[in-house]
């Protein structure tokens, strides 16, 4: 897994419509990397055919 850097966050924040100061991005960085690491660990649990828990039901349109 490639670690996200402060510079990455600086580029990503405006794309998400967020105007965040550097100190705020710095505080966010460890949490974002922890979340990304968790997702990488989850990927190891799922098989190619695994479908997400949330699916669309055509019968009731939800």
């Amino acid at each position: 897994m490639v670690e996200i850097t402060l510079d990455d966050l600086r580029k990503m924040a405006p794309r998400a419509g967020l105007q965040l100061a550097d100190d705020e991005l710095q505080r966010l960085l460890p949490g974002v990397n922890r979340s990304k690491k968790q997702v990488a660990e989850l990927r190891a649990l799922i098989a190619t055919e695994s479908e997400p828990a949330a699916t669309f039901n055509a019968a009731d349109g939800k």
Binding site: I4, A16, G17, S35, V39, I46, P52, A53
Partner: protein, 475 residues
């Protein structure tokens, strides 16, 4: 001492610590009345809540008006059931018609909803009395807020310690004798953790069992509404009132609502209790030693009561936190996106930091977590061929002190509550001991989907075999 006519004298404190069952019976024996109990609680709130900060909004006038109505109705034998005339309070994310609903946040500091949450309406139809709106973690996320417009709730067992969250006020008010029942909400443990930390009982029902209509969302696919009280039976009584299908909630389950008290008193002889210890309890920093000792003693008690303890694989439970947290931050960010873009400074620093993480996760990350959710659900539920319920500590450690609280530490210990949000399975927390510092510890019992009745049965058997639930904080 209170003495009215021929009634038995009742100490004010005892009055405030009655269970719902006791209060309801007392009304019908005419030992005390809804107006007396409401008055006693309002007086106690006035005298001690300035050090606990359980209430954000007190609805004293409304409560007294509802109490008078309940009293008249009970006198004229128009009986609405076990919650008739019972003073309760709700977490401040339940929408209340014309009553401020803040989510403990500057964002909604003066918001007046124009309808009641389905659960609030059901409680009012059952004749319950609304004392007010309770403090919480801001938007049910993050930790105790130091920069919110309302002070953080304190733990009645030690005001230097956190009460747990996010339904902090809902648990602390019960422990302090400020209400007889309350509503909380639970997305990752927000009913069960504060119940554990404050020595009260709280159940996260099955996903879909209780309507979320009119409950401000944190994470649509993980949010659960549920009751908290000072006894297992009281929790069952409140759940009975608020459970049931609601067309206004897309996740509401059209499932039959059983009598939740039907298993109470039947004992647990022959019950198989699964403990997912291996591969989970020793995760990173593991479980606090005093917590594990209290939990192991609870297991011994359950065995004495006739249950069999079976060790099961803890790994799927351990993974559940990763999926739960990923889904939670993505959905929470999606719900609050516009506000976070336009006025992030209105959010407290703790909740803002947690929610903003969601802006930097991708759609693929979210879907990966939902795919893992399906896999883990299957693995966790497969255990029900071997066991009837799961048992774990409710929280991995006792309440932390405000002064030394480390918000990152929770990621270094196992989350015992998250798997039940991810799977939607019901889980209840019941008091199971105290630390050397006299801080409460909770036991969690998880059951099959829509089988809250069995969770109540096991929790009640344990509760009645011990005295933990009878302990009161000194205030």
């Amino acid at each position: 001492m209170l003495q009215t006519g021929n009634r038995r004298p009742v100490n004010q404190n005892e009055l405030c610590y009655l269970t719902i069952t006791e209060a309801a019976a007392g009304f019908r024996r005419k030992e005390y009345s809804p107006v007396e109990l409401t008055g006693a609680l309002l007086k106690r709130i006035e005298s001690i809540d300035d050090k606990l900060h359980c209430f954000i909004t007190l609805t004293a006038e409304l409560a007294l008006r509802q109490a008078k109505q309940a009293e008249q109705e009970l006198r004229s034998e128009k009986d609405r059931g076990p919650l008739h005339g019972i003073p309760i309070a709700v977490k401040d994310l339940y929408m209340t018609n014309g009553i401020r609903t803040t989510c403990h946040s500057a964002v909604l500091e003066n918001w007046l909803p124009n309808f009641n949450a389905t659960t609030v309406a059901k409680l009012q139809d059952a004749g319950a009395i609304l004392l007010g709106k309770l403090g919480m973690h801001e938007f049910a996320f993050g930790g105790p807020s130091v920069d919110a417009p309302f002070p953080a709730v304190r733990n009645p067992w030690s005001t230097a310690h956190i009460p747990g969250g996010s339904s902090s006020g809902s648990a602390a008010a019960l422990a302090a004798g400020l209400c007889y029942g309350s509503l909380g909400s639970d997305t990752g443990g927000s009913i069960r953790t504060p119940s554990s930390h404050c020595g009260v009982v709280g159940i996260k029902p099955t996903y879909g069992r209780v309507s979320r209509h009119g409950v401000v969302p944190l994470s649509w696919s993980l949010d659960h509404a549920g009751p908290m009280a000072r006894s297992v039976e009281d929790c069952a009584i409140i759940l009975q009132t608020i459970a049931g299908y609601d067309a206004k909630d897309p996740a509401s389950a059209d499932a039959a609502v059983p009598n939740f008290r039907s298993g109470i008193g039947h004992g647990i002889k022959g019950m198989r209790i699964g403990v997912p210890r291996v591969g989970w309890f020793d995760e990173n920093l593991g479980v606090d030693r005093q917590t594990e000792t209290a939990f192991n003693r609870a297991l011994e008690m359950l065995e004495e009561l006739g249950a069999t303890i079976i060790e099961i694989d803890g790994k799927p439970f351990s993974h559940a936190r990763k999926a739960n947290q990923t889904i939670l931050v993505c959905e929470a960010y999606a719900y609050h996106e516009k506000r976070l873009q336009q006025a992030p400074e209105k959010f407290g620093s703790s909740v803002r930091r947690r929610m903003l993480e969601g802006a930097f996760l991708s759609a693929a990350d979210y879907i990966t977590a939902q795919r893992a959710r399906a896999v883990l659900n299957e693995q966790i539920r497969a255990n029900f061929t071997l066991v009837d319920v799961f048992a774990t500590p409710s929280a991995p450690r006792p309440p932390e002190a405000f002064a030394t609280m480390d918000p990152n530490e929770q990621n270094l210990r196992p989350s015992f509550t998250n798997p039940f949000n991810l799977t939607g399975l019901p889980a209840i927390s019941v008091p199971c001991g105290f630390t050397h510092e006299n801080l409460p510890v909770g036991l969690q019992i998880g059951a099959r989907s829509f089988d809250e009745t069995t969770a109540f049965r096991v929790a009640h058997a344990y509760e009645q075999a011990t005295k933990w639930h009878k302990q009161r904080p000194v205030l």
